[in-house]
């Protein structure tokens, strides 16, 4: 290695070796940097090139040649490296799509908001009979099915929730008023018959 370095030092004097043409030098730098696992310092690039080449000049020309292409020649900590253009970062992500059904809590909360909007969190909890989990409402907001509505003009001015256009789109509704009422649901068999209000099951028949 030391003999090589010594030889390099002499290259200005030494005119015996014809240096490769400029285009060829560019190709060399290009290939070296492309194949390298790590950024390469100028000295190392130069050391790998044949005698009489000007690695820095080749780097500069190469950098200009790549310019605004999808790949750029950049100087990073530790040397020179090719990097994909930052504005194309979105291409370096692939999406694995997964479809999940909304949980029971999610769909119930959504139904309450749809039918009772604008409705406060406390009201949702009263209707469902359980505390609303933060995650459930957050997910509905994230899905853009639900958004914050006007504040209720009552003490504490609680926030209300309403459904969105996206919600209507997803469920194929022209407007929230198109949601069928309880009576219609009953007629459509969506609601089962209420328990018989007749004789009391004193003999425990109901348990059987």
């Amino acid at each position: 290695m030391s003999t090589m370095t010594a030889a390099k030092a002499e290259r200005r004097i030494d005119t015996l070796f014809a240096a490769p043409p400029e285009v060829e030098q560019e190709r060399m730098v290009e290939a070296i940097l492309f194949a390298s696992a790590d950024p390469l310092p100028l000295a190392e690039i130069a050391a790998r090139m044949p005698e009489g080449t000007d690695a820095l000049a080749a780097l500069a020309r190469l950098q200009a040649a790549y310019g605004t292409r999808g790949v750029r020649l950049v100087e990073v900590a530790g040397g020179w490296a090719f990097r994909t253009a930052p504005d194309l970062g979105f291409l370096m992500r692939t999406e694995a799509e997964e479809t999940r059904r909304l949980s029971r809590a999610g769909i119930e909360t959504l139904a309450i908001i749809a039918y009772h909007q604008p409705v406060t969190r406390v009201e949702i909890e009263e209707i469902r009979g359980v505390a609303a989990s933060r995650g459930t409402l957050d997910l509905l907001v994230e899905l853009d099915w639900v958004r914050l509505g006007p504040r209720r003009e009552t003490p504490g001015r609680p926030a209300t929730f309403v459904t969105t256009e996206t919600f209507l789109d997803h469920f194929g509704l022209a407007s929230a008023r198109d949601l069928p009422g309880l009576e219609e649901l009953k007629a459509a068999g969506m609601i089962g018959p209420a328990p018989a209000a007749g004789p009391l099951p004193l003999d425990g028949a109901a348990d059987r």
């Binding site: 990097r83 694995a96 999940r100 059904r101 997910l139 469920f171 949601l179 649901l185 969506m190």
Partner: protein, 267 residues
């Protein structure tokens, strides 16, 4: 060192009962390899080789090996026997009734076989002469990892929504059967409360002050509490446990614990 640096990679497949000493006849890999080598030496197109000459060369080689007491591997001897047979078929005129393939057929098959092996040798050479990845050609040294983003799509149909609402809407109906306690402050409860209250605070007080505050929140419950308290007051007065007075019509009804004297009289 790699076990494949030498050309004897095939030896390990041989059963151990074979002679352990095998003549590595100048590195030939079996009789076919050797025949191909002899055929090449004829320096003609493999399609035009003299199979007879080839057979004679091979047999001569085997004979010389025997003379030098070199033990040949079995497949070399099998090939020698077959070539001797081939030679005889080639030299003797074919019989009319012969059902065996003719000498020429056999020779052609051997030639084809050599050709096919030769073709693979050449193909292998071409393959290995290609620019190979990691030797002459290189891939990106610093590949950028592609992030896989799991995009969750949540779905719910209108049917789900309606069912959910129906479920909530009918919760009242669907709940287990039980008797609701009617919003009535019963006389028994009123009696207990008034006795306790008068014990703690025997002086004149308005009846309303002795009523439970949580029953005065809505009209229905308030009425019940007032009624319950009034009936209890009358009952306690009848028993001589309290005294009551009212300044005028609709004035607050005042009560206090009865004097012990009064109580005794009543008893």
């Amino acid at each position: 060192m790699s076990p494949f640096e030498t050309v004897d990679g095939d030896d390990d497949a041989r059963p151990t009962d074979e002679p352990s000493f095998t003549v590595d006849i100048d590195g030939f890999e079996g009789p076919l390899d050797m025949l191909l080598s002899l055929a090449r030496a004829q320096k003609v197109d493999l399609r035009r080789i003299s199979v007879l000459q080839l057979a004679e060369q091979y047999l001569a080689f085997v004979a010389s090996a025997r003379n030098r007491r070199i033990e040949l591997a079995a497949d070399y001897l099998v090939m020698a026997a077959w070539l001797a047979y081939l030679k005889s078929r080639l030299l003797l005129p074919p019989e009319e009734t012969d059902e065996e393939p003719s000498g020429e057929d056999l020779a052609a098959r051997l030639a084809l076989r050599l050709e096919r092996l030769d073709a693979m040798r050449r193909a292998a050479a071409k393959l290995m002469a290609r620019d190979r990845l990691g030797q002459e050609v290189f891939s990106r040294g610093a590949p950028e990892t592609v992030q896989i983003e799991r995009a969750l799509t949540w779905t719910a149909g209108l049917g789900d929504l309606l069912k959910a609402y129906a479920r909530i809407g009918t919760k009242e109906i669907d709940r287990p059967l039980r008797f609701d306690r009617p919003p009535i402050w019963g006389v028994e409860a009123a009696l207990t409360r008034l006795r306790e209250a008068l014990g703690a605070c025997p002086d004149w007080r308005a009846l309303a002050e002795h009523l439970p505050p949580d029953w005065l929140t809505d009209v229905q419950r308030c009425r019940s509490a007032v009624a319950g308290g009034f009936v209890a007051t009358l009952e306690l007065a009848r028993r001589g446990e309290l005294e009551l007075r009212q300044e005028g019509s609709f004035a607050p009804l005042m009560i206090r614990a009865a004097e012990p004297q009064t109580r005794k009289d009543a008893a």
